[in-house]
Symmetry: C2
Subunit: 429 residues, 2 copies
């Protein structure tokens, strides 16, 4: 009897009974759409409708869904070694991944600390900055961050996030953070003056920043030269530079990391999302020798006593290693170049449209504002989302910002489809 | 040339170059041991030495390593759907897992909120408690927790952890927490009186507790009746009960959850570790309808705006669903019963030994203190660890506390080997 009932109900209906979805007000949100399968750039729902995954499933599945090369490597790893405690032990997937990653990380990165997602990657970045100064005997307990930055949802990560529209219940519990505006090119001198004053008054331990592009702030670009000047001043004042490359890392901006475009290199880099190529969760926080050395001591308490159970999970390491192998391949590099060029051309075309504000692109990321007022999670935004889905395209507008971060394996035809549906939106809304 | 060098170096040596391990002071710690493969209860290092995994790799691999049933399910899922955004979308592995889990969760649990590890599971538990009262308009911003509790390493999770020997660099940043001693049976009335006074003075939003057994505090047991009285008083005062079952969940105590032994049921349950059966990371926070309803509103801001990218990762859901299927099977239930009985007998035997203090067991968990003073991460403890490894047994003493949490598939012979090496320790140390 029960089984018959279950079979009659759709997945979307069964979902409602016990599942609480992230970033969702269930009372006002529509029924969840059940996705049955994914392959390459195509998501298929339980009715057989297909959608081009225009944002690589939150910037993860950049080599395409259920990629044969990746899944074979993970399947093989599952037969060999699934999990082992990473305190006291090591294993080949972690060692090989570390050797492969160091080659592509921004200059100066030397040590890797594993964790499980973007929030834990930035929490560890914050802890490295605070404990670096603590271990050196410096009284520095304030973090510096950009306005509208987003660094995750755990308490430390929430604290440094300036984009806290829905953090009302928690903000009394945050760690101390000072904020500066992002450099726009026009305001660079003001930001620098403001920063210099802050540094005089405050005891800043570290600066956490999304280099070049703030993802959750709706793909907001800022000025590379301005950021470079900020980083220079911070470094001169011994403020630990924590680059949050969770969104930008692994080729999205056209280079391996967004920090590659900036002369002043980070002390710490936070990674996740495309790190494991859209297969399974992992985070990673890398750092320079200087940071590591501040924890290396005969005093046990100067170590970083942080550790998640699945730290350096061998399956996740195998996925990440295979992902890096694909990323550095000629094929993927050439794909990224092609998408970059097509995006630039499309952004140029958009610019002259009266309904478009601020068309921009960098690497595979393209974004623009629809010149229509709408709230981040409001009804009009939901209508926009619906329009894309009805036209076979999965995009996830942030308010009136429309953007794509397509998989690197997207076909010319699929990419043109993304562009053309975005153009249709300009006629309809 | 470079490849030749790599081949000549052992994994342990290569590990040193770029890897920073969790809970490790690298200056004083020995070289990491490279594990090459794992099958069932056996870990094999790169020299071919075998070790019985006496703690299920931090309480995760309870159905044995590289378990065929589990790996086949995950391999099949990898061919179907690897990852999809869980905001706006759903999928079969998540729906099926929710239906299977609700059947075995403590009574009253109704909704599941996915995340990636134990720390995020408790962070969400804390956020549910704080925002529950915030949404209801109650001014309650303090969390209640046990002394020596451990709930994770992110800032919120660290805040409620009383076991903060190495948190010196961060404790100025913690959320407000009040602590009570664990009930021992003898002190129950004092703890209750103390709690009642605290409640009068404080505005406590939630109580987070490891039911029955505090894992990181060195498998410290407390009194079920005493805990029940504490939970009753908290519930009477509308304090949200957050059971951290990250370690105790999924059969370890002999029942599905430790909360099963306690009449007063939790409002929120935090899960991870054995949830995904030792294959890959996932966390989960479940709650009652009452908690969920406080977030269900026409006001978008009353939602829980928390979301990790890989939330409800289909591979992790497939592993967890297969894990629950094994857990409820007659075979595994019978194994748990057998280990439980063998442990009780062995604990009885240990009790009379002059070198043993406080021998105890519950389900597959067995622990005792070696009557020798040693530090949690000191040299003597490392010697003890070495002794176990040299005898083919992976145990991970916490100071002078020796404990086992064996996989449910451990053979009679392997279990007897664990016991006999523990007995040898009593002769040597």
């Amino acid at each position: 009897m029960r089984d018959v009932e279950l079979k009659e109900k759709s997945l979307g209906e069964r979902d409602k009974k016990h599942l609480w979805h992230p970033l969702t007000q269930h009372k006002t949100s529509p029924e969840m759409l059940a996705i049955k399968k994914a392959k390459g750039c195509i998501l298929t729902d339980d009715k057989g409708n297909e959608y081009i995954d225009g944002i690589s499933s939150w910037y993860t599945s950049v080599y395409g869904h259920c990629n044969d090369y990746l899944t074979k490597k993970v399947a093989a790893q599952m037969q060999q070694l699934d999990q082992v405690v990473f305190s006291g032990f090591t294993h080949e997937p972690a060692v090989k991944l570390s050797e492969a990653l160091i080659k592509i990380l921004p200059q100066g990165q030397q040590k890797l600390f594993f964790n499980d997602n973007g929030s834990t990657a930035t929490e560890i970045g914050i802890k490295m900055a605070l404990q670096y100064h603590h271990n050196l005997g410096n009284d520095r307990k304030v973090m510096l961050a950009f306005e509208e930055g987003f660094h995750g949802d755990t308490f430390g990560a929430m604290s440094v996030s300036g984009l806290s529209v829905y953090n009302g219940a928690f903000q009394d519990h945050f760690i101390r953070v000072e904020r500066i505006p992002v450099p726009t090119g026009e305001n660079n001198q003001e930001v620098l003056s403001f920063l210099k004053e802050l540094i005089k008054k405050q005891t800043i331990a570290g600066f956490i920043y999304e280099p070049l592009i703030q993802g959750a702030a709706a793909m907001k670009f800022h000025d590379a030269q301005g950021l470079n000047e900020i980083l220079k001043i911070c470094r001169k004042n011994e403020i630990i530079l924590v680059a949050d490359e969770v969104m930008t890392g692994f080729g999205k901006t056209g280079s391996y990391f967004a920090s590659d475009y900036i002369d002043e290199k980070p002390d710490v880099v936070c990674m996740s999302k495309a790190l494991t190529a859209g297969l399974l969760p992992m985070g990673l926080t890398s750092c320079s020798q200087k940071v590591y050395d501040a924890f290396y001591s005969d005093d046990i308490a100067k170590g970083l006593f942080h550790g998640h159970t699945y730290t350096a999970n061998p399956l996740a390491c195998a996925a990440a290693l295979a992902g890096v192998e694909l990323l550095v391949s000629e094929k993927i590099q050439s794909n990224i170049k092609n998408i970059t060029e097509a995006n630039l051309e499309f952004a140029n075309k958009l610019e002259s449209h009266p309904k478009v504000k601020n068309a921009r692109s960098k690497g595979v990321i393209l974004a623009f504002e629809l010149n229509v007022k709408m709230e981040r999670y409001g009804n009009l935004r939901n209508k926009l989302f619906r329009f894309f889905m009805d036209n076979g395209v999965f995009l996830r507008p942030l308010g009136n910002t429309i953007y794509i971060v397509p998989p690197y394996v997207i076909s010319e035809k699929e990419l043109q489809k993304l562009y053309s549906v975005m153009e249709e939106v300009l006629e309809v809304f």
